[in-house]
Each structure stands twice: as C-alpha cells, then as structure tokens.
C-alpha cells in the first residue's frame, strides 16, 4: 500500500480496542515524538516565522511582514528559476514515466531474464542522485565530452551542451529521465496485480493485444500511474545535486540550470538571506502541496478504481 493510499485510509481503520497501552506508546514513540517537535514541526514553524523577517544569522530576525514574498515576485532571478524548474519538472517527469511504463510493459509477462533486465534498468536510479554521476554528466555533455565524441564519429559537431544556455537544462532533464528505473519497478509490481483471467476472458471475446492493453492494462494501471506521477513530481521539484554540480554551483550558464532549490541554497547559505530563503521554502511547500491537491482532484477523472 502506498503512502498516499494509507493517508486516505487512516480514518477507516478498525482495530481491537484495548486499554493500558498509553504508557507503552509513550515509550515506543518517544524518539519519534522528540524528533517531530525538535527536528520537524518546530523548525517548520520557525521557518514560517522567519519567512516574515529579515534574518542574516548574525543579528536577530527583524519582522518585515510580507516583504520577502513581494521581493520574490519582483526578483527576476527568482522568477526565472521558477520557470526553469517548471520546465524541468513538466518535461522530464512525463518522459521519465513514459519510459518507465514502456519498459515495464516490455518486461512483463514472464520474460526470460526479467530480474537481470530489471536490475540493469534500475541501477541508474540508485546512482543518479550522486555527485559522481553529476560529474560524469558534466563531462559527457561537455564540449569535448563523450556525446560530442560519438557525434563526431558521424561527422556531426555538437555544442558544449552544459555550457550552452539553450541546452544545459536539457542535460539535467536527460539525467532525470535516465533514472526511470524506480517508477518502472513500481509499474512492474502493479502489472503483476492484474489478474491473468481478465486477459484470458478478453482473448476469448476476440480482443487483440492493443485492445487488451487499452481496456484492461491501462485502466487497471492508472492508480499506479497516479502514484508515480505524484511521487516523481514531488521529487523532481526538489532536484538539487545535479544542478549544483553540473553548473559548478551557480546555476549557469545564464541561470539556465538555476533550479528552485539551488537558488534557495544560494540565497540562504550563500548570501545569508535566511528570511528570503525561508519564504522561498514555504512557497515551494505551497507549490508542491497545491500540485498534489490538484493531482488528487484531477485523479477523479482519469484514475480507475476497480471496486
């Protein structure tokens, strides 16, 4: 069961009524509870407060009302990073999920060597977030990098992809698509839950493979598509390492790879504009939360529940 489903289920859960567990609960939950207060909820509240202040770590925070938020929307770098991030997310996530779904469909149906294929395709998902892979990306899409060497074999001379403002973001998107393995594994698990008898019945009724895909596989898979979509969108909005390393820490060239969290980092920990960074963080939470809500609302129209 996914987190999302669990969240919408907590209300209906029934469990045997027992007494006297309160103290034990206190014992078992103590670390989590301290963490919730000191590391999660407390700092959350504090950053909400800081988002209305001017704060540079050195002098105490100074209340400025909505100033940080109005500054944000007058800040061309902020607006451009917002645009860059949305482009990155809205292009790379659908491509990544399409690749994941396509490969999952090819790998389903008891294919020989399935486990091996799955491992090979999944590996990039594990490594993709690391600094090492970002370094590799910076080289292969560099002016003398692997991509241009291969293009050179065909007589094409490429750009320095990471150093060209029109293409640099594309290399980051490519990296995101490259990590399609994790959603693919989720799709594979979902495909396996579809009862084989549906297909058998459809085949008896004369449905071809395409028809079976359209009328059985796809509708029954929509909850998984939805789950992957929500998850990958949330993740993609927080991409940081790749933009930081590929651009050398500044989001260049010409801010073309200045992803939201990178700008937040530069503001907060580069120029110590902590109030502004907190405002940005809360705005990010608003974007992610808003997008998730919209996703849930829209899901009524395309996600199929079999019950």
């Amino acid at each position: 069961m996914s987190v999302i489903q669990a969240l919408s289920r907590t209300r209906q859960e029934v469990s045997p009524r027992r007494k006297g567990d309160g103290r034990w609960a206190l014992f078992f939950l103590a670390p989590w509870f301290v963490g919730l207060v000191l590391v999660t909820a407390g700092p959350m509240g504090a950053s909400l407060y800081l988002s209305f202040t001017d704060y540079d770590l050195l002098s105490p925070p100074e209340w400025v009302g909505l100033d940080n938020f109005t500054r944000m929307f007058a800040d061309p770098r902020f607006l451009s990073s917002l645009g860059v991030t949305f482009t990155y997310v809205l292009v790379s996530v659908p491509l990544q999920l399409a690749a994941a779904l396509g490969l999952a469909l090819l790998l389903d149906k008891g294919l020989r060597g399935l486990a091996l294929y799955r491992s090979v395709y999944y590996l990039p998902s594990l490594l993709g977030g690391s600094v090492a892979i970002a370094i590799l990306w910076r080289q292969i899409f560099g002016a003398d990098g692997l991509v241009n060497q291969v293009l050179g074999l065909f007589g094409v001379s490429g750009h320095g992809w990471v150093s060209h403002p029109d293409y640099a973001l594309g290399t980051l998107m490519a990296l995101n698509v490259w990590t399609f393995g994790a959603p693919m594994v989720i799709f594979l698990a979902g495909l396996r839950q579809i009862p084989q008898m549906y297909y058998e019945a459809a085949a008896i009724d004369g449905a071809g493979r395409w028809r079976q895909f359209r009328s059985i596989t796809l509708p029954l898979l929509t909850p998984i598509v939805f789950f992957n979509l929500v998850l990958q969108l949330i993740e993609a909005f927080q991409s940081f390492t790749r933009a930081f390393v590929v651009s050398g820490g500044n989001g260049g060239p010409s801010d073309s790879t200045l992803l939201y969290t990178l700008y937040l980092y530069l503001k907060g920990f580069g120029s110590l504009d902590m109030g502004y960074a907190s405002a940005m963080a809360w705005f990010l939470l608003l974007i992610i939360g808003g997008m998730t809500v919209v996703n849930f609302l829209a899901s009524k129209y395309w996600v199929f529940y079999d019950d």
Partner: protein, 318 residues
C-alpha cells in the same frame, strides 16, 4: 482513492517478502498460447522474442554506457578521455587513482571514513527509532493514534528545505556545525518517517496471535517487540538498512550545509571540492574518485537487490 489498493499495491508486507520475481515466473512463459498453433506462428513468435531481447539488451547497454565509459576512462591517461569514446583503453594507467587519492588536503580514505561514520550512525538511528515508532503504530492502542499516524505520513512528503534554515540555526547554537551530529541525531529521532511507514506495513502482516500467545506467557510489549517483531522483520529491517545506506552515502544537500571544514568532509563534498579545485584539467583522477565513491553503492545494490526491489514495489520509495 480509498480502495485503490485492491487493484494494485496492497501487498501485506510478509506476502511481499516473497521475492517479487517469483510472481513473474509463475506467469506463463514467452511461448504462452502458441503451443497448439502450427509451426509458422511459433517460429515467428520465437523470432519476435529474439528481437525483443536484442532490443532490450541494446537499450540496457546504451543506458549503462556512460557508466561503463567512466570506468574505462578512469584507467586512461587524461588526453585519451577526450579522444576515445570506446570502452577498451589503448593504454592502461593507474596514476589517476593514485593522483586522485591524494589530490585533496586529506587522502581520499579520510573522506571515505567520514562518510562511513555518518552512514553507521544513520543506520543505527533509523533501525532502532523507526522500528520502535512502527511498533507503536502497528500494535498499540493509544489516544490520537490515527491523528499521529497521519502526521507521520505527511512528514514523509515534507521537503527538507522547509526545515533546513531553523535546523541550521539550532545546530549552530548547539555548536554542532562541522560535526556529524546534525546528520545523525535526527535519524536517532526517527525523522526518516518513510521507514516507519515501511515497518508499520510489515508489522501489520505479522499474525497477532503471536503477540497474544506471548502476552499470555507474561511477555510485555518490550519483549514482544524485541523477541517477536524484530526477529520476524528481518526483510523490512534489511530494506531499511540498504536504503539508509545508499541515501546517506549519496546525500549532498545536508552534508554540504553542515560540513564546511575539510577534515569533516564526506565523500560527496570532497568530490565537489575536487571539481572546483581541478576544474576541467584532470578528468581522469576525478573519474577515478567518482568510481571509488560509487563502489559501495554498487556493492549494496548487488547484495541487496532483492530487498531494494521489494522495498520500492511495496512502498514506492526511490
């Protein structure tokens, strides 16, 4: 939304503990439905299967090519990295490794040890604190349980950026900056709530009769947790351990913020400094150290695949 899981992901944890590939193998093989047909289509099906495998292998090769090429290039002299797109080095050179190892202020082993310490602390923290919280949510009845559970689930989705500034302020007041404490202590406090969720799912699949029998024998909750739940939850604990290992090893954002003194650098921060220090001039040693940094993740992947796949399939973690 409510019953979505009936179509898909609801796999009670222990059932999920069966290697997920077995379900795949139970499905009919590639020759499904062709057995009774005459030879022609069967041959065509076989050709189709061969072509499909060829395509899948080619695609996998293209996907892994950058990685393989990085490994190959780490053994090439610098000049060749920019001239040889192939995998087989014409000249093998180990100096990239020796140079890279000693290129920074400290030998690379120093950063490996630092990363290992952070990982160990995080492992211990997640395994103990998350399994404790999970036991409470899965087995104990207490006031506000559903509310707390919902709060726990929501905290999984919380972007770290919303808490990082106040955390930084708090940890710097405690004088914890440039120690591993800001990276480890939150794990001891079960802030990686994803693993609580993973273990709650698993614990719920363990038959309650076992606890009840133990209760009749006079065992209290601590003993049930220690002597029944934990021993039966090895797959969930292994999944937690492997993901904690890989995520902590790869983590960049929080280590970048909390560790600024070179002797405290972990592997990702050291690599990043390496890029800044050498620029584009020594890709060979940069690649060599990148490979060194990926080896532990790769080993975890090799030995923990089963748990990784199961973990993602049942909870959707990455």
């Amino acid at each position: 939304m409510t019953d979505a899981s009936t179509t898909a992901q609801t796999v009670p944890a222990p059932a999920a503990a069966a290697p997920s590939s077995s379900a795949g193998r139970a499905a009919p093989g590639p020759a499904r439905g062709t057995a009774v047909r005459p030879r022609g289509p069967r041959l065509r099906a076989r050709v189709g299967a061969v072509l499909k495998h060829a395509g899948l292998i080619a695609f996998g090769f293209v996907m892994l090519y950058p990685l393989l090429w990085m490994v190959a290039s780490s053994f090439k002299p610098n000049a060749l990295i920019f001239r040889e797109p192939g995998l087989i080095p014409t000249e093998i050179d180990l100096t990239n490794y020796t140079d890279g190892w000693n290129a920074l202020l400290h030998p690379f082993s120093h950063y490996l040890v630092n990363s290992a310490l952070v990982v160990l602390g995080s492992l211990l923290g997640n395994l103990v604190s998350c399994s404790m919280a999970a036991y409470a949510f899965a087995r104990l009845e207490f006031r506000g349980r559903r509310l707390w559970f919902a709060i726990m689930l929501m905290s999984i989705m919380l972007p770290i950026h919303v808490v990082i500034v106040p955390q930084y302020v708090l940890f710097s007041q405690l004088e914890w900056i440039n120690t591993f404490l800001p990276l480890i202590v939150p794990k001891l406090l079960a802030t990686d709530a994803f693993f609580i969720f993973l273990m709650v799912q698993f614990f719920r699949g363990i038959p309650r009769e076992l606890d009840e029998a133990a209760t009749l024998d006079g065992a209290n909750h601590l003993r049930i947790y220690l002597q029944i739940m934990l021993p039966l939850s090895v797959p969930a604990l292994a999944t937690t351990a492997i993901f904690t290992f890989i995520w902590t090893w790869n983590d960049f954002f929080s280590q970048l913020i909390f560790l600024t003194r070179p002797e405290m650098y972990t592997v990702p921060i050291a690599l990043r400094t390496f890029v800044d220090a050498t620029g584009e001039s020594s890709w060979g040693s940069l690649f060599a150290m990148s490979i060194v940094s990926l080896v532990p993740v790769f080993i975890a992947f090799l030995f923990g695949q089963k748990y990784l796949v199961k973990g993602i399939a049942t909870t959707g973690i990455k």
